[in-house]
């Protein structure tokens, strides 16, 4: 019973999300602002790498934006 409800809620969520997404957005000629460097999700990849590495080595969490990081004996 609960699985059916979860499936229903999940289906409504996914359908709602997709239909909402299809009405959002811009036309191709309206992308001048979105195309700017500072509007990229990761506008400074090197700084993001550095920060991920610092926080990975000092906290119990990592990743989220990208992969969990690692490759370091610091944690």
């Amino acid at each position: 019973m609960s699985i059916t409800i979860i499936r229903f809620v999940f289906s409504v969520f996914v359908l709602g999300f997709l239909s909402a997404c299809s009405t959002l957005g811009v036309e191709p000629w309206e992308r001048d602002v979105l195309a700017k460097d500072e509007m990229q999700l990761v506008s400074d990849p090197l700084e993001a790498n550095i920060d991920d590495h610092i926080y990975f080595s000092k906290e119990a969490s990592s990743g989220g934006r990208g992969f969990g990081g690692g490759g370091c004996g610091c944690n």
């Binding site: 997404c21 309206e30 969490s61 990592s62 992969f67 490759g71």
Partner: protein, 460 residues
């Protein structure tokens, strides 16, 4: 070069095909159709034909970082280079290099005491003493870390984009090798992008003198009876994300990621104090006659050999009359009982003459792992798992900083960033025994982060 030229031709043809399909009144030529079909089979169609007009070029992001902790703890000077070469047809090669030079002192894990304590160094060749009433630190921490990475991205057909990468890093006692694959697909006139990524890593840990048997005692100089060989761990990461353009000024992203680590997850140098169940003081011990060794009873930590983490990450980029707000939130939970929340905000203010200021604030909070222990009580059987690592404790962290950037006359970007990072945590009250209630059992952390970045391109 020949490949690039061919790809440029394909993209130009592709561009022609798209134009033809939009203006249906135009008849497609046989040659165009054949070229388009070939292009589709090769799966090399460009999403942005403008790139066909550009020469291949390199872009370099370089950065020199200083990270320094209070009380002469960890100091890191790090050189980072990220090189990107763009090819025609929207293909991109990325190469990364990092060199870290680490020095300083790091907490041993043992509890502070009212008297000085002596420890055997990880090498097993000498001892060091920690003064009374402060968190014991091992001041011989030093290492040089080299990390390299390479990645490749390219369109796969009109709406898909694929990526592949490899990474390698090496330290004195640690070697990492990893690989990753990614795929994205655009929907709704490229306003929605769905991405899927997977990464594998295999790390080898070769602690100086061998890894200690978990929960075994720290021994006298020269006694390696509790030492094992090298260890390894495997990490698999999976990431699923959706990026959505909301309007001309707002872009949002939502990611779910899963990470599974298995193998040796201990810190081979960290020990717990074995304490009297009434006084909370660490039990004293006497080194064997004629040798030196620990003054008290210490046990090497023991963590589970697997860890599964789930993260939800949301980010928004919002353009507000020239200013850009970058806001993100992450929730993480794992089967070690660590739950964490991270909120991060940056606001970029443009100034005159291609200059900008960007204040940054980040707040982080986590709960302790279920096997986090400030010390081990001699009055109880040893638990299966125990770690005194403050990074697995209950703490909050705050980062506050500012970045100032400018563009040179030759079009190069420079920036300077200064940040302050602090951690403040506490040991759960039910873990404190006797005299420990009067001692500072949780080593807080204050650190300064300064980096200087320089971005330039060549070959345009």
């Amino acid at each position: 070069m020949a490949v690039d030229s061919a790809a440029a031709d394909v993209v130009a043809t592709r561009s022609g095909r798209e134009f033809n399909s939009v203006t249906k009144s135009n008849k497609k030529s046989v040659a165009t159709s054949l070229a388009a079909a070939t292009c589709a089979l090769l799966g090399t169609a460009g999403t942005n034909p403008v790139h066909a007009q550009e020469e291949p070029r390199w872009e370099f992001d370089t950065s020199l970082l200083y990270y320094g902790e209070n009380d002469d703890r960890v100091q890191d000077i790090s050189l980072n280079i990220l090189a990107r070469r763009s090819f025609v047809d929207d293909r991109l090669l990325t190469l990364g290099l990092t060199v870290d030079s680490l020095t300083g002192a790091t907490p041993v894990g043992a509890a502070p005491m009212g008297v000085a304590q002596t420890f055997t160094r990880p090498s097993g060749n000498s001892v060091f003493s920690a003064p009374a009433n402060i968190t014991p630190l091992d001041d011989t921490f030093w290492d040089t870390r080299y990390a390299v990475s390479a990645g490749w991205q390219q369109p796969l057909g009109r709406l898909f984009r694929g990526s592949a990468g490899v990474s390698f890093s090496n330290e004195y006692d640690y070697t990492h090798i990893g690989a990753n694959l990614g795929l994205t697909r655009d929907f709704n006139q490229r306003n929605t992008t769905v991405s899927l990524g997977v990464a594998f890593a295999q790390d080898d840990i070769d602690p100086i003198s061998g890894s200690p048997t978990p929960l075994s005692p720290m021994l006298d100089l020269g006694d390696v009876s509790n030492r094992r060989g090298t260890e390894s761990k495997d990490v698999v990461d999976v990431l699923f994300g959706v990026t959505q353009v909301i309007n001309q000024n707002l872009l949002v992203q939502l990611n779910y990621s899963f990470s599974d680590a298995s193998g040796y997850l201990n810190d081979p140098y960290r020990v717990l104090s074995l304490v009297d169940p009434i006084s909370g003081d660490t039990l004293a011990r006497t080194p064997a006659p004629g040798t030196e060794g620990p003054s008290h009873e210490f046990r090497f930590e023991s963590r589970p050999d697997s860890r599964a983490k789930h993260s939800l990450f949301g980010q928004a980029k919002y353009f507000m009359h020239g200013k850009v707000l970058d806001l993100s939130y992450r929730y993480m939970t794992d089967d070690w009982d660590v739950d964490s929340h991270t909120i991060d905000a940056k606001l970029k203010f443009p100034l005159a003459n291609d200059r900008y200021l960007e204040p940054h604030i980040r707040y982080y909070t986590q709960t302790e792992a279920d096997f986090y222990r400030a010390s081990l009580s001699a009055g109880e059987p040893l638990p299966l798992y125990a770690s005194p690592d403050y990074r697995l404790g209950d703490f909050d962290a705050l980062t506050a900083g500012i970045k100032y950037g400018w563009r040179t006359d030759s079009g190069h970007d420079l920036s300077m960033r200064l940040e302050y990072y602090m951690q403040d945590g506490e040991v759960p009250g039910n873990q404190l025994i006797g005299n420990q209630l009067q001692r500072d059992m949780y080593p807080g952390l204050d650190a300064i982060i300064f980096n200087f970045s320089y971005r330039f391109g060549i070959g345009r």
